[in-house]
Symmetry: C2
Subunit: 203 residues, 2 copies
Amino acid sequence: MTENEKLTEDKIFEAATEVFLEKGMDGARMQDIANQAGINKALLHYYYRTKEKLFSAVFEMIAKQILKKFAPVLDENLSLEEKIRFFFKEHISFLQKNPRLPGFLLNEVNRHPERIKKLLASIDFDGLWLKIYEQHKQEFDRYNITQATLPQLMISMAAISVFPFAAKGILEGILGKVNVDFNDFMEERKEFAAEFVIKAITR
Amino acid sequence: MTENEKLTEDKIFEAATEVFLEKGMDGARMQDIANQAGINKALLHYYYRTKEKLFSAVFEMIAKQILKKFAPVLDENLSLEEKIRFFFKEHISFLQKNPRLPGFLLNEVNRHPERIKKLLASIDFDGLWLKIYEQHKQEFDRYNITQATLPQLMISMAAISVFPFAAKGILEGILGKVNVDFNDFMEERKEFAAEFVIKAITR
DNA sequence: GTCTATAGAAGGATAGAC
DNA sequence: GTCTATCCTTCTATAGAC
């Protein structure tokens, strides 16, 4: 029974994740989620009182999952160049398995910035900043990185990795017209991006 | 009367643009648009029979506007480096004035890729490709650019410029925590991005 | 815990008067 | 061309039986 309950709740959560990723909060219908889970609408409300609460649960899980993906780079004991290569390889691989995450997150956050506020609040950015500085102090001198350009650099790396997935709908159309496959493009991109960035910051 | 008619139709179109940009197709309400335009719902249907048709008109205008912004770079008679500087300066300036365009377009296209298909179909990408090659043949040799990396490079440039706006909801939160203003960040980015890319492709 | 049935509200669309 | 009133469908949410 508790086993069964857990099963149903998980089934709902997974179905909701699927549908919300596909259609977003506004486009998703409780009926779609019920169908996807193989149950009826009433059960959705039994476990998660409202659509809003169900969405919040899904959103929080996804947001945490993505934000976490930016963190492990900090813990690896690698040189700056190795870290950059590691980041693009790991991050793009993750997005290849979850291509709709970027579009979903960006859209929902732009629509309701408050949703992500409390998640961001729990992250110690000043601490992260310091940690990065500690780890790569000497390298930052050797490379072309200052306190002012570090945020620019990091956002650029995120952009190079994430944007193609966020723009997948357009990009596939454009690449198709010059006979390039999206997946091949992203596979190549892991190395291209790393070399591109390393080149850009090397004095 | 024709003058007045034009006025009302424009008023509706502008109100619809505003609301669709803010809430997207699924989140927008005809009532919102009517309120924004200072008229009633019935008039919306008089000019644009359905919500779908009204949205299509707005979407097409926005998509054309954005795609056009990528083109003029091709026509300028500048060196590759000058062109890169020109691109980031112009493109980011445009997005500073229209910060919600990227998020809107990316979201709607991912949700309904067919919407952009016929617009892309009207663009001669092979011709553009050739044109770029013609213009910068010798430079491509001097720089680190091959037929395989040119798409990677161009998508990266688009990413570096567009992504911060598409991710504005998150980025403002993050930058705020380290006391950086989004607008200042984007102002700096015009030059940072250009130098970053030029550095990356220079042998 | 799960279902069927339905309430109740909201939203897109239309009829008809002016 | 513009408005008010209203239809009809869709959607979230709940009541109540099992």
